[in-house]
């Protein structure tokens, strides 16, 4: 089964809540795909649209963004700003020829290790259903 499609996923997570949840999933041995690469940022409010585009254009099959629940953001409301920004970027993503489903934003609190695992698995499955990123066919990377 070695040629079964294994999506490559970039998870941009905030340092405070979601990263803690990811760690908790790790210490609780809650498994999810080894193809998920977690990139820790201080806050989702720090996410520049170009990071998302960069990831997709470089061949990520999906970009997951995880932040604190509304009201929990360490920086008060960075997550809400991120939400606005990301709904804008998903249109741009579409113009680049990506299914906006390849971009997903979720709130995962610090003690929600199982929630993190579930989200990773769900995203992984939905990207798997979408198939490999069109970038690979269109561009010579």
């Amino acid at each position: 089964m070695s040629d079964e499609f294994e999506p490559k996923i970039i998870a941009l997570v905030c340092n405070w809540c979601t990263y803690t949840a990811a760690d908790l999933a790790g210490t609780s041995r809650l498994a999810y795909s080894a193809n998920v690469r977690i990139i820790r940022l201080m806050c989702t409010g720090m996410i520049d649209p170009k990071y998302i585009l960069k990831a997709l254009l470089d061949g990520a099959d999906g970009v997951f963004i995880g932040g604190c629940h509304p009201g929990d953001c360490h920086y008060i409301n960075g997550n809400l700003k991120a939400k606005k920004r990301i709904s804008g970027i998903s249109k741009i993503v579409e113009q680049f020829g990506f299914d906006p489903e390849r971009l997903r934003l979720r709130w995962i609190g610090a003690s929600e290790g199982p929630e993190f695992q579930r989200n990773m698995n769900e995203f992984f499955e939905s990207i798997k259903a979408l198939g490999s990123t069109p970038v690979r066919d269109r561009m010579i990377l």
Partner: protein, 980 residues
């Protein structure tokens, strides 16, 4: 004490303990925290979200100015601060000696697992044959005798619960690193030269199993509120689904029973636990999020004590918007329903009918455990007790109480001449390490493990891939990084080599964490230039995926650059606006720390509402502070003066005040404390203005305490609570009225024993120990008549007399009363401060109270760093509470005032002025108001005391003129590239 840094001991590592420890660390003390349990965080570890906004935000307690000395991550994972050492499973045995030089004897229970060696592999847990109810989940679900006591807290190793351990030795055999040691001999050790001790041991919650109450322990679906919290937690026994413990069925109907173990004279609990009402509302709201639309949530209560500023509206939303049902009654009994897993509640409803209602689950709102006393050493001189160790407090109450205790201790130390170390001199600035200025040279250290058998071939694979990386990498293998030999070797390599960045490829990073800190002391390597990748934990992973992790780590390190910010000087004086109880106590607390204070008061006298306070003890305590303030040469008092302008940034404000004479004065100060107070509210409800014998409760208080009152013929007096309050537009509880009305009533009974006193009330808010007044009032025969917002009593003025109509609660028939006096509980309002709000650019609530930065975790900070708020200006408060808030505000201010300058931290926004177009988007978007335009320079600047490095500005900047030092665009882009 010579050059030694004075050491503070904090007992208890819950919210209060953490707050007190951070307060001391913030002003330069060395702190040791001891905690009885194996984890840091207290009860909050079990509560994911808290009222009154159903959010967390515990991390907001972390230092906001000196961030580099403290770990930057969720506090649930533990407390890591360069000046704080934490000892878990440790208790105080005794305290002796004099303040400043206390000797403390401590006793530690071994964890059974060596923290240096444990790599969290979990093998011990797998083999442990002993399963016991999971204490972290309040007995729901099981855990092993060896476990991680709090799953997300990996700051400590696994530990053994000795009470259930059989010492069979299986774990010892299974542990690959030899970390398990089955020796549970307590060790005692002394701590000498402790300057002061803070007791922050918190409050134990009542265990309903201990008394035959409502079948907790008998029926599996009757749970305590803490257990319910675990049920709905994602990390709880049911992974966050709301199901019944007995049969795992989805919960459709759940009830909360209030005051279980509180307000119960039979078990000696003549107090209100203060937090449970709000706790229950929050749980009901969280439950509703998880339940289907038609599900039911019911709270059975006697009085819904929503006495905080925003609490009443929270309750109203729960009722009106979320459909939580509130039923006022004492529940008679719980019995099994038709289906034995169901529960049948019997109670008498408001129409005096006995009702039987079935529920899937019942939650008992348990409060403080009765009869618990503080240990003897708590009264030793030099030992200070935080409020939460005396009674249950909500979060803001715990935070304020801890700050008060810390403040009082540091005042004592200042008085004794004991100083913290000179902070500015001592602070090694990790942010400005030389390493950042040099070209990055990365050293990769591969751990050969020594436990995992095929580590060698894995490392061969990794190493050959690493060699293909662009740029130079120094690669070295070290055996057993977790052991001393291994670690010494690492130090040697760093000292001998020329690397200025370090990557570890080893196992769980929590194993390395504390050791990396050690490197800082011995080498030039700070933890901000160290990265690690876990190559051993987890299931088999491909070399390719491990290499990606390492590549990402290397990319992160290569992009770390030097920080080019300068420190900001601090003006070491304070401006306090308002000379009432809160302002006075803030001013005095600062002056006692040898800080110059400008105290500005609008009226011609100091004391604020002191002039209306009759209670003798309270008067005395305020007068005492007032006299001290007036006699303190460090406090410059400006009466009949008003603030007209203020500008600047935290640590450096320039303000102008204007006297009555028109004379103006410029003041330079580092912080501002707003204590602008409040006053009795006015109301036109209940015909207040139509009769001279309808008075406010404040006037009533004066009247009954006047000598002439005994000469009056008094037959009957009526009091109506919540007159014009706890409904829109003034929908908040004023906190003071119930206690005052009850005291007035008791006084009337004392002077005129035959007089009848009726109190119409919605909910009697005698929180905490003031419940006793309520109990006494009932004993004295004062009649209490409850009403709802739509069954208010009616007041009529008839032929010169008063007529009050209501409904008798027992008989349900109308009653008519003709009182001699009618007292209305009108509540309090904040003073009008529109101009100040504008000057300082701060926010107010819809009721005109000044909004704090965070109502739970930063209750006396405003959204603007360097500006603090306390007392009635912030929220309704009793005078004694307002004074405590003043002390808390002073303690917060000291974080800034105790420094000569504010040192830039590693994580900070920076502006590249040459490409900044001054569009000012960043100013608008900054959540901390850290950005401003320097008009003289024509530049956008960052206030380094306020900036937290969140990067919102960088994300919005159209020209990428703003950057966050460790998260610059190119760095993040490189990491993304490495990841793919």
């Amino acid at each position: 004490m010579g050059n030694k840094i004075a050491k503070i001991l904090v007992v208890g590592a819950g919210i209060s303990g953490i707050r007190a420890a951070l307060d001391f660390a913030d002003i330069g003390y060395q702190v040791c925290v001891v905690e009885k349990s194996p984890a840091v965080g207290g009860i909050l570890l079990q509560l994911d979200r808290q009222f009154p906004n159903n959010h967390c935000g515990m991390c907001r307690m972390l230092p906001m100015i000196d961030r580099d000395v403290c770990s930057q991550f969720c506090l649930r994972r533990g407390l890591f601060h360069d000046s704080i050492s934490v000892h878990t499973s440790t208790e105080v045995v005794s305290i002796e000696g004099n303040p400043g030089q206390l000797k403390v004897v401590l006793s530690r229970q071994p964890r059974g697992v060596d923290s240096e060696l444990c790599n969290f592999c979990g093998k011990c847990e797998e083999v442990c044959p002993v399963s016991v109810p999971d204490t972290f989940n309040e007995g729901l679900g099981e855990r092993k005798a060896i476990c991680l006591p709090v799953p997300h807290q990996t700051s400590g190793p696994y530990s053994i619960d000795w009470a259930s351990c059989t010492k069979c030795g299986e774990c010892e055999k299974a542990c690959p690193t030899g970390a398990v040691k089955l020796d549970n001999e307590h060790e005692t050790f002394d701590m000498e030269d402790v300057a002061a001790v803070i007791i922050a041991t918190g409050t134990k919650l009542f265990n309903p199993d201990s008394v035959d109450l409502y079948g907790c322990g008998e029926f599996p679906n009757v749970v305590t509120s803490t257990a319910f919290e675990r049920i709905i937690s994602s990390s709880g026994p049911f992974k966050g689904s709301l199901v019944r413990p007995s049969d795992g069925r989805e919960v459709k109907k759940v009830a909360w029973l209030q005051c279980v173990g509180s307000r119960n004279l039979m078990i000696g609990a003549d107090y209100c636990s203060s937090a449970c009402c709000m706790f229950a509302i929050k749980e009901a709201l969280l439950a509703r999020e998880k339940m289907s639309k038609d599900a039911e949530t019911v709270i059975f209560y006697m009085d819904m004590r929503t006495f905080g500023r925003d609490f009443q509206r929270y309750r109203d939303r729960a009722e009106k918007e979320s459909g939580v049902r509130f039923v006022r009654c004492r529940v008679h009994s719980i019995e099994p329903g038709e289906n034995p897993d169901d529960l049948r509640l019997k109670y008498v409803d408001s129409s005096r009918k006995t009702v039987e209602e079935d529920f899937d689950m019942i939650v008992l709102s348990t409060g403080k455990e009765p009869g618990r006393k503080l240990p003897d050493y708590a009264s030793h001189e030099g030992v200070f007790v935080a409020d939460s160790a005396k009674g249950l407090k909500d979060i803001s109450g715990s935070v304020i109480g801890a700050e008060v205790a810390a403040g009082r201790a540091s005042r004592m130390l200042k008085n004794l001449g004991i100083m913290p170390a000179d902070k500015d001199k001592d602070q090694k600035s990790a942010g400005q390490s030389k390493a950042f200025e040099e070209r990055p040279r990365v050293q990769v250290v591969l751990c050969e493990c020594g436990v995992i058998s095929d580590a060698g071939s894995l490392l061969d694979g990794i190493e050959s891939e690493l060699e293909k990386f662009p740029g130079r990498l120094d690669i070295v293998r070290v055996k057993s990084l977790c052991r001393k030999e291994g670690w010494d070797k690492v130090k040697q390599i760093i000292r001998d080599g020329s690397a200025n960045r370090l990557v570890f490829a080893a196992c769980n990073k929590n194993v390395l964490g504390p050791k990396i800190k050690e490197l800082e002391e011995d080498t030039e390597i700070f933890d901000s230039i160290v990265e690690s990748a876990d190559i051993y934990s987890g299931d088999e992973r491909s070399i390719d995926s491990l290499i990606k992790d390492l590549d990402m780590a290397v990319s992160r390190l290569r992009s770390r650059r030097a920080l080019f910010e300068h420190s900001q000087p601090v003006t070491g004086s304070a401006l306090v606006i308002g000379g009432g109880p809160a302002g006075l106590s803030a001013a005095l607390a600062l002056a006692d720390h040898k800080i110059d204070v400008f105290l500005v008061e609008k009226s011609e006298t100091l004391g604020g509402n002191l002039k209306y306070i009759i209670d003798k003890e309270l008067r005395q305590s305020i007068e005492e502070i007032l006299n001290k303030v007036e006699g303190n040469p460090r406090i410059k008092i400006h009466k009949e003066a008003e603030l007209i302008t203020s500008s600047g940034i935290s640590g450096n404000f320039t303000s102008k005040i204007q006297m009555k004479t028109g004379e103006q004065k410029t003041i330079l100060h580092g912080v501002t404390i707003l204590a602008t107070g409040g006053t009795a509210a006015e109301t036109d409800s209940y015909s207040m203005d139509d009769h001279e014998r309808i008075v406010s409760l404040f006037e009533m208080e004066k009247l009954v305490n006047d000598a002439s009152f005994s000469g009056q013929a008094v037959k009957s007096i009526v009091m109506i609570q919540c007159a014009g309050t706890r409904e829109e537009p003034r929908n908040y509880c004023s906190r003071v009225c119930c206690i005052k009305s009850l005291n007035n009533a008791l006084k009337i009974k004392q002077i005129h024993p035959d007089a009848e006193v009726y109190i119409f009330y919605r909910d009697i808010m005698t929180y905490g120990d003031s419940e006793r007044i309520y109990t006494e009032a009932r004993k004295k025969g004062i009649v209490f008549i409850p009403f709802d917002i739509d069954t208010k009593p009616e007041v009529l003025v008839e032929s010169g007399g008063l007529l009050v109509k209501g409904i008798d609660p027992v008989l349900g028939v109308p009653v008519e009363l003709k009182p001699d006096w009618l007292s209305l509980a009108v509540g309090v309002v904040p003073n009008f401060i529109k101009d100040l709000v504008k000057i300082f650019g701060i926010e107010t609530t819809q009721d005109g109270f000044i909004k704090e930065a965070d109502s739970k975790w930063r209750p006396v900070d405003t959204g603007q760093e360097g500006i603090f708020v306390c007392g009635l200006a912030r929220a309704p408060a009793r005078a004694d509470e307002a004074m405590k808030e003043g002390e808390a505000a002073a303690q917060r201010a000291l974080r800034i005032l105790s420094k000569n300058e504010i040192i830039p931290q590693r994580l900070l926004a920076r502006v590249r002025h040459s490409i900044c177009s001054m569009c000012s988007l960043c100013i608008e978007v900054c959540p901390f108001n850290a950005r401003y335009i320097d008009t003289a320079e024509g530049k956008i600047m960052v206030d380094i005391a306020s900036c937290q490095g969140c990067g919102t500005c960088a994300a919005i900047c159209p020209n990428s003129a703003t950057l966050i030092v460790d998260f610059e665009d190119d760095g993040i882009m490189n990491v993304i590239e490495a990841a793919l």
